[in-house]
Structure formats: structure tokens, C-alpha cells
Amino acid sequence: MNPFTYSRAADVPQAIADLTAKPHAKFLGGGTNLVDLMKMGVEKPESLIDINRLPLEKVEELPEGKGVRIGALARNSDVAENELIKSRYPVLSEAFLAGASPQLRNMATVGGNLLQRTRCYYFYDPAFPACNKRQPGSGCGAIAGFNRIHAILGQSDQCIATHPSDMCVALAALEAVVRVSGPKGEREIAFADFHRLPGDTPDHETNLQPDELITAVDLPASKFAARSHYLKIRDRASYAFALVSVAVALEMGADGKIATARIALGGVAHKPWRALEAETALAGKPAGDEAFRAAAEAALANAKGYLHNTFKIELAKRSIVRALTTVTAKA
């Protein structure tokens, strides 16, 4: 690990001031990804600003029934077990509990989870010379290499890495809002605009500015969030990253047909993948296999597989059908 200076931020303005004042500084939250990447020699910050003592750990109701605010330093385990989240946004609780291990969930923060880096082997291990994300312009080891865990949607010829988070897939379906604070004040970023597709700059993963701090994630009130579900498909029963995951939320109309559907996919793209075509295909349809399969086909219509990951295309379709079947059966 490279040497770094360490400091503790006492409040949000100081954290932001330190971030801009110190050279190559990074915020330290739970450390579950950052410390690991520092051990690997992928991340080499010269300063770490410990933000764990900032008062950003609460999960609280927003006024006027507008939804729920999750502080950026709330631990994954605490949000998963929170009654507001379990009753109103079950997909988010399920996504948290499907991720990592109890130990890691006790450490990992919501803000850090948003900024997780990919587990692409070629990115994570500097022994591989080519990775456009780690070393812009060096090439992509995965496209012609071993790409079983890689993207099938929205990839570029520069990068086919996937976003590893479960939480973010649920947040995409719930149309969450990321609240950030910087030298110019606070601003909100719609969840769909927070993460970026790789394009020609796979090293540029989010639209968070270098001088900004994530302070909270807002979950808006909605008619679909309460009937929601997270399905994760992985190589072992627990404690593994998703090959494919699906977050679904449904609002059923008085006529028994689907009024609103929200679907997001994990393990398939550089960002949590909102399946807008599938949502449109479901609106106004009676819930059932026919509509579910049509939605799944629409979601994967533009999918492209590589040598080892083509299986993900059919797996994603079947996972969408299964997740929709499960969520329809929910009371």
C-alpha cells in the first residue's frame, strides 16, 4: 500500500475543503472496497479523509410524505433492517441482504456502495497490463480475454466491465435521488444520471464532481415501491457477485392490469441498467407469462454477448420473468 496522510473530518464543509486542499485525496467510509483496492495497488490516494464521524448515518422520513432519506454513512446492514425500508421499499432491503456478507454489510456505507468499482479481473489486478479503466489508453483485457462476468448491454469497445452493486440496482428501479454537497453548495442527481456508460472514458464512472461529497440518497414516495422484489442469480447460494440480478416494482391497476412497472438489471452493464423498454411493454397488460416474456425480450433486444458470457442474455430474460412472477404473487 502506498503511504498516505490521514485526517478526520469534523463536519461536511471541512470534509469538502480538505478534499480540494489535499493532493490526490479520497474520502474513507467503510473501506471495504477502497482499502482492498489500495492493497491491490489499484487505488493510490496520497491523503485519506476519514468521514466516518460525520452525522450522515440516519434513515429518516421526509416531510409531507415525500419519501425516505438515507444518510450516506448509513451502514448497509442498518438500512437492510430498517422498518421503513422493509415495509415501503422491500426491494432495497432484499438487495442489501443479497450483497456481500454480514461483516462487510456492517462496514459498508451507502455512499461507498454507490462508488464501488468493478470486479473485472483485468481492472482489479495491476499484473494485467491492459485496462482502459485503470490506465486509460492501455486497452481492454476482457474483450478478447476471459469475459464470463462481463457486460451484455451498453458496453463500448473500450470497456465491458459491469457495476458490482446490488443496492444500486434497487435504487435504479426506485428512481432514487443522490444528494451531493460541494464548494458551490448542494445539488441533486437523478439516479439514472449518477453512473455513466463506459463510452470512450471508462475511467470516468459517475457524474459526481471531484470536489463533491455524497451526503444522502432520497427514496421518493411511489405507488409501486411497496410491491417490489430483488432476484439475484450467482455462482453459489450466497456471498458472490451477481451474474444477473433483477429489481422489479409493480403498481397494479383497479382493473387487475399492470399500471406501472419498474425494472432494473444488475451484472449486465457498466451501470445499474434500467430496462425502460420492458417497463413500457408491461404497462396496461394483464400480469402473466405472456406479458412477462415479451417484456424480457424487449429488455434484452440489444444485448450482445462475448465468448464466455452469452449465457447471460437468456439468463437475464428468465430472471426478469421469474422476478415479475414473484412480485405479482406478493400481496
Partner: protein, 226 residues
């Protein structure tokens, strides 16, 4: 080394073939393995080693990151004792415990948060000490495998692991036990399936899972009955 000595000391044989590397490394390894057994059986020794740990030992093993100009003092309550240790900012809680505070019960497995051998309790919650920088724990209460027993009385989870043979080589055991202690407190041991899911952050390469689940189930029943 003469041929005669070679035959009489199988351990030296291992040295020759570099199974454990140099003899110093082997002794360190054996000490660590012995520590695992002791973690389960010899609780009174632990109380002693814990109180020793209250005084920081400045003889860091070569493997530990040496304190540098940037070293920072960290005060924490370690197994009930106020402790202070001076560490380089890069030192993980795991390395601070093992290499600076001589509490080698907590094990280094993968060192990347994937195996759970390094599990300790911080403010009552289980975490992977290998991914946590020691300097971030100022003022925290840290409990390691050495701090679970009360004098000669084993923690119910320790006793259950012994009774149900919840281990083979024992290397993952301190982490398994710390994780199980937290699991019971969290209330996630309502069924065998739930125990398996909520213990998934602790890998056992010997595959002692059946007995680990039995031990945790038994500890839960015993604690509930008490």
C-alpha cells in the same frame, strides 16, 4: 545439518524442504496454530495474554508495517482493557492486533475481506478486520477471540464448537466463533438455513460446515434456555 539430526527432527525436515520457509517463520506459524486451540480450550491463559496486550509491545515483527514519521496513536478498549498503540496509517486492525498487540488469535486468511478468518467484534458488531484501518478505530470497543471467555468459563459458542467438533484444522475457527457470537445477538439463527446464510461470510476450507451449524444451533438453544 547432519543426516542423523535430520532423521530425528521431522520439523527440520520441513525446514529443509522449505515447507514453512525459514525456522523463524515456522515457529511463528506453529505459535499461531497453537493459539487457535488455546482460543477454544485455555481461556484462563487468554485472560493473561489480554492484559499483557494492554501494554503495547514495540517489537513489531518484520511482517508488520514499521511505524513511520506519520505514525498515529490509537486508543481503544481491547477485550475490556484500555489500550493504546502507535501505528502507521496503513496498518489494518488485523495487523495491529496480530503484529503490534500480540493477539494472534485473530487470523489472516485472504486479507481481502473474502474469507472471514479475521472477523472481530467492533462495538458489538462483526467486521472484517483486514479491510479496516486501525487508525479509524479511535475510541472503539474491540473484542477478539481472546476476549470472549470469562476467566475459565468459555463463551457458550466456544463451548459449543468444542462439543460439536465445529472445526478441523482450526484456522478459520476464531473468525467463525466471533461471527457466530454476533449472529446470535443479531437474532439470525432461527433455522439451519438462516444460520448458513448469515454465516456465509466465513469460509471453512476443511468443510466443517455441518458441525459449525450444529454448534451454533446448540449455542442458541443453550443461551435461550439459560
Amino acid at each position: 545439518m547432519s543426516e542423523n539430526q535430520h532423521e530425528q527432527t521431522p520439523a527440520a525436515d520441513l525446514d529443509q524442504w522449505l515447507i514453512f520457509g525459514d525456522p523463524a517463520t515456522r515457529r511463528k506459524f506453529l505459535k499461531q496454530v497453537a493459539g487457535t486451540g488455546a482460543a477454544i480450550a485455555l481461556s484462563s491463559k487468554f485472560a493473561a495474554s489480554t492484559s499483557q496486550a494492554a501494554e503495547p509491545v514495540d517489537t513489531a515483527a518484520p511482517a508488520a508495517t514499521p511505524p513511520s514519521a506519520a505514525a498515529i496513536d490509537v486508543r481503544l478498549t481491547l477485550n475490556g482493557h484500555e489500550t493504546s498503540v502507535r501505528v502507521d496509517p496503513r496498518t489494518t486492525l488485523l495487523d495491529a492486533l496480530r503484529e503490534r498487540l500480540q493477539l494472534t488469535g485473530t487470523k489472516k486468511g485472504c486479507d481481502h475481506g473474502q474469507c472471514g478468518a479475521c472477523t472481530v467484534l467492533v462495538n458489538g458488531r462483526r467486521i472484517n478486520s483486514c479491510l479496516s484501518l486501525a487508525i479509524t478505530h479511535e475510541g472503539d470497543e474491540v473484542t477478539t477471540i481472546e476476549g470472549l471467555a470469562k476467566g475459565d468459563e468459555l463463551h457458550p459458542v466456544q463451548a459449543a464448537f468444542l462439543e460439536h467438533d465445529g472445526f478441523q484444522c482450526g484456522y478459520c475457527t476464531p473468525g467463525q466463533i466471533c461471527s457466530a457470537v454476533a449472529l446470535l445477538k443479531e437474532g439470525h439463527a432461527q433455522s439451519d438455513a438462516e444460520i448458513r446464510e448469515w454465516m456465509s461470510g466465513n469460509i471453512c476450507r476443511c468443510g466443517a460446515y455441518t458441525n459449525i451449524v450444529a454448534a451454533i444451533r446448540a449455542a442458541k438453544e443453550k443461551t435461550a434456555a439459560a
